[in-house]
């Protein structure tokens, strides 16, 4: 059964995010750093009257920081808190069929935790990711 997926670019790669995880897509303004927190936490940002925790996706994937900080983010709601997951760019939203990862494929260190399958877009396979896996400090991560 096809599901709606948001196609985004993350650390230079195209990824598919299941739309149920996405609350909205925003441009993040000023980010207030949180001293002492892990590198994945870029800081806090105000989204209207809400405070969201901004996740540095490259750091969460264990990649070196980018030259230019991204400003677009996908807002997701996990365990009572809102997180802004930074993305490089967003492409479109379309229904796709979620397929399991092809046998024998082992993802790289940072991607291993978050990849949860793949979709096929115009013959090009795109990794489907679970945003919750990018959020640090959760009590339990559902598979």
């Amino acid at each position: 059964m096809p599901q709606l997926f948001l196609i985004a670019h993350l650390a230079g790669r195209a990824v598919a995010i299941e739309s149920g995880q996405v609350e909205s897509v925003v441009d993040i303004g000023v980010v207030v750093p949180v001293p002492g927190a892990d590198r994945q936490v870029r800081g806090l940002a105000a989204l209207r009257s809400r405070v969201v925790t901004v996740i540095d996706t490259r750091a969460a994937l264990g990649l070196p920081p980018a030259d230019v900080q991204a400003t677009r983010a996908v807002i997701t709601h996990v365990e009572g808190h809102h997180y802004a997951i930074m993305v490089d760019s967003l492409e479109d939203v379309a229904p796709f069929e979620l397929l399991p990862l092809s046998p024998g494929i082992v993802l790289d260190a940072g991607w291993r935790g978050t990849g949860c399958g793949l979709i096929e877009r115009d013959g090009e396979p795109v990794l489907a990711i679970d945003l919750r896996a990018l959020v640090p400090g959760l009590t339990a991560i559902a598979a």
């Binding site: 002492g36 806090l44 640090p136």
Partner: protein
């Protein structure tokens, strides 16, 4: 108390509604343990509540039903249909009484004895005449869904931010005054609305604490125990939902503490404790939790007796003994456990604790016990913080702002002041603030900012459980009331933040957790001492004082309580007359005390000081402020108008010596009626002319004739005048013409012996 009653009614009504299903289910299956427990909890809660609401009828009914249900729970009675009916009749009756209380209508209590009697084993079944349910009185309160309130709150915050944005735009573009006025009006309304909306969701924890003093007193009195209650942190504002959920657990724990924990005075004496038991209830925020701590200095939990009681109920002894000490303590949370031999109306069988834990866990909280056998028990209820309004101080470090809860701040001092030192002990920094030594934590270093960038210039002295430390910060900004929400786990895991907030600036801000910072810095404080200190502090109430500039330019203090009023007076009403400076007032002349030049001035401000009887005026230059009088006073070298000097924000300020002022200047009494000295007999002309001013100066009223309703305190007459001494039982002082007495037995006084005369009068008139 009315609020509490209303809440009790609303709650009972609600539980009853929820319970009606359970009751019917129980009727169908009397063996159903869960249903039984639910009904038991209901009557138990009603019993607990009406204990301190003083509702004896409800207390009697619920206590009786509780007894029977407990017997069923422990298996000594079987829940047959008759018993179920009897219990249900009581539950119904409780509902009827509650409605009657709400409506304020009378309800006769006939039949209640029968209801209770019907609970007895082998009682005759009675047909209850159905009681007409009185009509509900509509109340001016509604219960709302919390989600609705939450939506309202976030809508409100959005509105504030939109207003800010609009204001910014208008400022940038230079709008015309009429638009600005409209915006101003909008701002006011928005601010007011925000306050109101916030209050719909928040409540001071005081709402939870306010019932405690009365409850502790009543419970203590009922049991013949004397308990001193100490409360802390009652101004923390919390989610109403949370406050509601905490009410029952808190009441149960406090009652249990008094009933089970605190010993009888005689027993306490025998154990070398002070007779008054001490119970302390404190609320504080720590991290993303609210902790309510109830500690007593009673006997603690005797795990041996607990195990014995459980064994008596048929539990395996070896199994219980194998438990860890912590697990043994937690046995008190099991249903139906008590180490108490008799059941009282206060708390009963250790039930409650299972209810307490159920309630707390329902809201995602937990209970921690810390037991010192023979010394006391500390129960800490941890509940997650959903949101709270906290008065905060903003601090700036590394170009970023953080908030610190005002509640934990003892004071803020500037580095470099005379009384402030920072030293290094080895590699450990230590601050000395006016002879108080305490650990120093540099916030910038702690948060990983570059230390050289901005030097810490201010010390925020914060109190954490067990002690205080100085937090060094570069900047102290401003004071703000903030709505604090919990931060994401990834932020909380750092251990230095208590929550996050969105101030009007639109930039998120973090609230620092001072206890967490202390823990991160590895500070260790002893706990026992701190509790003692807190009690001592409480016993010394703070005295307010007026700070003023005196006429001689010196800044001085005078306790506020003594000041009747401050008023400006015209310089003409001040005059040096009859040996001293006096002030004419609307009702007479009072002594005026002046330190410094006054004659040049056009008018004076005068403090009218009153010690209850005497009144004096004290001329000052200018009243400045009302301050709290420091406890430490360095006494003055000489006796005089200055009692000593105190330190106020590092400044030396003199304190007026009231005792000296009144003993020196306040001789004439203006309030009290002076005792009447009756001059009687012949020679009254001499006495009137010569003695009257002397006597009046000494504080007597002088008369030569008594009015109808007067009695003389003392009668003065010339020696050998037989016409005197006819005026009732008043003592008589006699004067003689000769300097030396003719007769050794003669008790009279030489008429020009001023001191002797006044002394004799004083003795006779009764110690004046």
């Amino acid at each position: 108390m009315d609020d509490l009653l209303q809440e009790f009614i609303a709650e009972t009504r609600e539980t009853l509604e929820a319970l009606s299903g359970e009751i019917i289910a129980w009727e169908a299956a009397p063996d159903d343990r869960e249903r039984l427990d639910a009904i038991f909890r209901f009557v138990h809660t009603v019993k607990g509540s009406c204990g301190f609401l003083d509702l004896p009828r409800l207390a009697r009914l619920s206590h009786a039903a509780e007894d029977v249900l407990d017997a069923v729970r422990s298996g000594t009675r079987l829940p047959d249909t008759r018993l179920v009916n009897a219990v249900l009749a009581i539950v119904d009756r409780i509902g009827v009484i509650v409605e009657a209380i709400d409506a304020g209508s009378a309800l006769d209590d006939s039949g209640e004895d029968q209801l209770i009697a019907a609970l007895e084993e082998g009682a005759v079944v009675l047909d209850q005449a159905p009681v007409p349910v009185p009509l509900r009185n509509p109340t001016r309160s509604v219960r709302l869904n919390v989600d609705l309130l939450d939506r309202m709150m976030s809508g409100m915050s959005d509105m504030v931010l939109a207003r800010n944005e609009l204001a910014r735009r208008l400022r940038d573009e230079g709008a015309d005054p009429s638009v600005e006025a409209a915006l101003e009006r909008l701002s006011l309304t928005v601010a007011e609305m925000r306050d109101t909306v916030t209050r719909t969701r928040m409540q001071k924890i005081d709402a939870l604490f306010s019932a405690l003093p009365r409850m502790v007193r009543d419970t203590g009195a009922e049991l013949g125990k004397s308990v001193m209650l100490h409360m802390e942190g009652s101004d923390v504002e919390l989610d109403r939902e949370m406050i509601e959920m905490m009410r029952d657990p808190l009441v149960h724990i406090v009652r249990n503490s008094i009933d089970h924990g605190i010993e009888f005075p005689a027993e306490r004496r025998a154990h070398g404790k002070r007779e008054n038991g001490r119970l302390s209830v404190a609320a504080r925020q720590s991290g993303n939790q609210i902790i309510i701590e109830i500690s007593d200095d009673g006997r603690g939990i005797d795990t041996e007796r607990l195990i014995a009681a459980m064994v008596a109920q048929g539990r395996s002894e070896s199994e219980l003994r194998a438990l860890s000490e912590k697990a043994k303590l937690e046995l008190i949370f099991e249903a139906g456990v008590s180490t108490k031999d008799s059941v009282t109306a206060i708390s009963g069988r250790g039930v409650g604790m299972d209810v307490v834990r159920a309630n707390v866990e329902q809201i995602g909280g937990r209970i921690e016990l810390s037991n010192t056998p023979g010394k006391g028990l500390r129960i800490a209820i941890h509940v997650p913080l959903t949101l709270s309004i906290i008065a905060t101080i903003g601090v700036g470090v590394g170009g970023q702002r953080f908030a610190i809860s005002r509640q934990v701040i003892e004071e803020i001092v500037r580095v470099g002041g005379d009384a402030i030192r920072i030293d290094m002990l080895g590699d450990t920094a230590m601050a000395t603030v006016r002879d108080r030594r305490m650990p120093l934590v540099d916030l910038g270093t702690m948060l990983g900012f570059d230390r050289d960038e901005d030097q810490a210039r201010m010390l925020v002295i914060v109190g954490v459980p067990g002690g205080s430390y100085a937090l060094a910060v570069p900047q102290v900004l401003d004071h703000e009331e903030l709505v604090i929400k919990p931060a994401a786990p990834a932020v909380m895991v750092t251990g230095v933040y208590a929550g996050q907030t969105l101030p009007d600036s639109g930039l998120p801000m973090l609230l620092l957790d001072c206890a967490g910072i202390a823990a991160m810095a590895g500070l260790q404080f002893g706990r026992e001492i701190a509790i003692d200190e807190a009690v001592v502090e409480e016993q010394a109430p703070r005295v307010s004082a007026l700070l003023f500039d005196d006429l001689d330019g010196v800044r001085r203090l005078v306790p506020l309580a003594i000041i009747d009023r401050i008023e400006p007076v015209a310089i003409e009403s001040v005059k040096f007359s009859a040996g001293r400076l006096r002030l004419s007032t609307e009702n007479g002349i009072i002594p005026l005390v002046v330190q410094g030049e006054w004659a040049e001035r056009h008018s004076l401000s005068v403090l009218r000081l009153r010690d209850g009887a005497a009144e004096i005026g004290y001329a000052i230059g200018e009243a400045l402020d009302i301050v709290t009088l420091p406890e430490k006073i360095a006494p003055s070298r000489d006796v005089g108008p200055i009692a000593g000097v105190v330190s106020l924000d590092g400044e030396q300020v003199e304190l007026l010596d009231l005792y000296w002022l009144f003993s020196t200047h306040g001789a004439t009494r203006s309030d009290e009626k002076p005792p009447l000295c009756l001059i009687d007999g012949v020679d009254t002309a001499w006495m009137k002319t010569f003695l009257k001013p002397v006597l009046e100066g000494a504080g007597y009223r002088v008369a030569t004739k008594l009015k109808a309703d007067e009695t003389a305190a003392v009668i003065l007459t010339m020696n050998g005048d037989a016409s005197a001494a006819k005026n009732g039982g008043a003592p008589v002082v006699r004067l003689r013409h000769d300097a030396t007495a003719v007769d050794a037995r003669d008790a009279s006084v030489y008429r020009y012996d001023r001191d002797g005369l006044l002394a004799a009068l004083a003795v006779s008139a009764g110690g004046r």
